[in-house]
């Protein structure tokens, strides 16, 4: 690739040199008729002063050299290639030295507008060399199309020895284009094309203004110097075309000051363009502000501080988590870095094998590499901190989720156990009860007390069945699964030894873990009331408030309840916390005990 670049540079330099030598040796008179028709001038025979020939040569050479340098330094950007193409197109379209060569004349006529379109392409796509807007892309495509189409009439009909230009001296040594068909007056066509050209320049100026207005601040500061020069160039070109339209015989282009202005504009374009790309400003002031700002930046706001310092509000921050080998945002959500050519650029901060963070930003920021590096270094500690925060948050989320999963899995297991007991042992014992009943009937009342024995066995079995039923109910209440919280709480109230009033229960079904937690909270609370509170009655209320199920159990007992470690209440608190809920017990004084729990059900439903 480097050899290709060197080759391009050498070819460009050789071509420029040939043009210079040709110009100075005075092949001008004959050649200029070709140039006349194409772009730059109308009027009389004109000999290019040597000083201007040298200046033109130098500008072309400098531009080609800068283009190759930009190409070398920034292979990702197409700007370098376009910067090389820009003066080469100009040289080829101005076959001043090769006026006797039909091939050179043909190329020159075909590429007459090419240099101007390449310049527009270069400027509208600066600094990445890729368009950010479909409108820009479309405009440049139309520009290339216009350049090709507008060459056609000249390629077919143009003859420098035309009698339609009465002020031209005879030009016997001029060559016709290879594609020449017939000899016609193309002056009218040229006027039309010049008119279209002026319209295109106006459109181009509007697009350039739009690009500058819409750019993020850093992109604007990168592109602004170039844009100023580009406006000047456009204005100059438009003036030339306009003058040709309104006053075809004016000879403004013969003015040497006018020609010098063209040379300077070309030089200014290539210099501002390359300066932006090769010598990006350090932005020390912005970094100093960043250092101060980071002092007062709360965790989670480093992105905003960096975005301000770098002048890119669209900046995104990816924090590298080494264990996961992935980038996440500050909330711990995974962040995919954009692919190449996605219109976004990525700068990785820290060593390549152990990055700290990645900045996803506007590609224009690449023109400020030192600002990027300095800002990255200044924010290093804050980013390290931010990364730890993100990692912690992620781990906390995972622990929370796994805790909820453990509770849910436990509930599921209890439900299964209850079903197994119900479908298995309980059914067999019930059948056994029927069998004993039948046996007692078969034996009859007077068979050596066998009937009495069987009766006792039946009673024993009934007791066992009742215990089994309570055990199963304690493991998991089937009524909760099948009929919901309301009926389940009613059975709890019915079984409680003291009067329990249920004041509110929601009608709707809620996620199973939430219903189970609410049920067990009430169950444990009522058991505690019965055991310790010396209460005469208890109230239970379950309501839905703002996406949470609020459970309240109040009694009028002696108070003094507290969720000690290992107690039933502490276990319940764990279960409630696992669902991101809360549980408080107000048991001070002699106003009884009030248990208050909240269970968010919207979150539980997502799990």
């Amino acid at each position: 690739v480097r050899a290709v670049r060197l080759g391009v540079w050498a070819a460009g330099a050789a071509l420029c040199t040939a043009v210079l030598v040709g110009t100075i040796r005075g092949h001008v008179v004959a050649a200029y008729f070709v140039g006349n028709a194409l772009s730059t001038s109308t009027g009389e025979v004109f000999v290019v002063p040597h000083s201007q020939a040298y200046a033109g040569y130098l500008v072309a050479l400098v531009t080609i050299t800068l283009g190759v340098l930009v190409w070398e330094r920034r292979p990702d950007s197409r700007t370098g290639i376009l910067l090389v193409a820009f003066p080469l197109a100009g040289v080829l379209a101005d076959p001043i030295v090769f006026a006797g060569s039909r091939f050179a004349v043909t190329i020159g006529l075909a590429g007459a507008w090419l240099g101007a379109v390449i310049a527009a392409h270069l400027i509208l796509s600066y600094p990445t060399g890729r368009f950010t807007s479909q409108l820009d892309r479309g405009f440049v495509a139309v520009g290339y199309g216009f350049a090709l189409v507008s060459a056609v009439p000249f390629l077919l009909f143009f003859d420098p020895r035309t009698p339609h230009y009465p002020w031209f001296p005879e030009c016997y040594s001029c060559a016709l284009p290879l594609t020449h068909v017939a000899w016609h007056d193309v002056t009218g066509v040229r006027h039309v094309l010049n008119g279209v050209g002026v319209a295109l320049i106006v459109l181009y100026t509007a697009l350039l203004l739009r690009k500058i207005v819409r750019a993020v601040p850093v992109a604007r500061s990168v592109a602004l110097p170039l844009a100023v020069v580009a406006f000047l160039a456009a204005a100059r070109f438009a003036t030339l075309l306009g003058l040709r339209l309104v006053a075809p015989s004016s000879n403004v282009s013969w003015n040497s000051a006018w020609d010098w202005s063209g040379t300077f504009v070309t030089l200014a374009i290539s210099l501002t363009l390359a300066a932006g790309m090769l010598w990006g400003g350090a932005g020390r002031g912005a970094v100093a502000d960043l250092v101060v700002a980071l002092e007062r930046t709360p965790p989670g706001s480093v992105r905003a501080a960096l975005a301000r310092a770098l002048g890119d509000p669209s900046l995104e921050l990816g924090l590298w988590l080494p264990e996961r080998r992935a980038y996440v945002d500050r909330e711990g959500r995974p962040l995919e870095l954009p692919a190449a050519n996605s219109g976004r650029a990525v700068t990785v901060l820290g060593p390549a094998d152990a990055p700290v963070a990645a900045l996803v930003h506007d590609p224009a920021l690449l023109e400020r590499p030192r600002l990027l590096q300095a800002a990255g270094a200044a924010a290093r500690l804050a980013l390290e901190n931010e990364r730890l925060h993100a990692e912690l948050r992620l781990q906390l989320d995972e622990v929370r989720a796994s805790r909820a999963r453990i509770v849910t899995a436990g509930d599921e297991e209890r439900r299964r156990l209850e079903r197994d007991l119900h479908d298995g042992a309980q059914q067999r014992l019930l059948s056994l009860g029927l069998a004993l009943q039948l046996a007692r009937a078969e034996v009859g009342p007077g068979a050596n007390g066998a009937a009495t024995l069987l009766g006792e066995a039946e009673a024993e079995l009934a007791a066992a069945l009742e215990e089994l039923r309570e055990l199963a109910q304690g493991i998991h209440p089937a009524v909760l699964t099948e009929h919901g919280l309301g009926p389940a709480l009613k059975t709890l109230a019915a079984r409680s030894p003291l009067p329990v009033e249920i004041t509110h229960v929601p009608d709707q079904r809620l996620p199973a873990p939430v219903e189970a937690a609410a049920y067990f909270v009430v169950s444990e609370a009522l058991a505690n009331v019965a055991k310790h509170a010396h209460a005469s009655a208890a109230d239970v209320s379950v309501t839905c408030e703002d996406g949470s199920l609020i459970v309240e159990v109040e009694d009028d007992g002696v108070g003094g309840a507290e969720p000690r470690t290992g107690s039933g209440l502490a276990g319940l608190a764990d279960r409630v916390h696992a669902l991101d809920g809360w549980l408080t017990i107000d048991s001070a004084g002699d106003h009884g005990t009030r248990l208050h729990a909240g269970l968010p059900y919207a979150v539980a439903a997502e799990r």
Binding site: H422, Q426, Q427, R428, L430, S431, G433, L434, A435, Q437, L438, A441, A462, L465, E466, R469, Q473, P477, A478, V479, E482, H483, G486, P487, K490, T491, A494
Partner: protein, 120 residues
Amino acid sequence: MRRRVLVVDDHPSFRRFATRLLQSGGFEVVGEAEDGASALAAARRLQPELVLLDVLLPDMSGLAVAEALARDSHHPRVLLVSSRSASELGAALEESPAAGFLTKSELTAEALAAFADGAP
């Protein structure tokens, strides 16, 4: 005349002993079914006077079977039975068109006779 009964339960041993109990109580067990769909088919075919119907069936709830039977032109008296208590089964049981409910541990020859005689 012996009263014709259909026994519906998904546990074979329960069906067997319940059948024996019913027979010893003077009922005629005309058929057995192990789930809701076959219970409905059997009831329409055999036209029993009584159906001993488990609440928890594998394919549908016994309560739904009772409702479907109540809509039939020949609607037998339904005695729902369950290993769960009435309070565990909740409001749906109270709204059921079934004529009576017993927990399985309350199921005795006497209770069946009382139900057949018209007591709830």
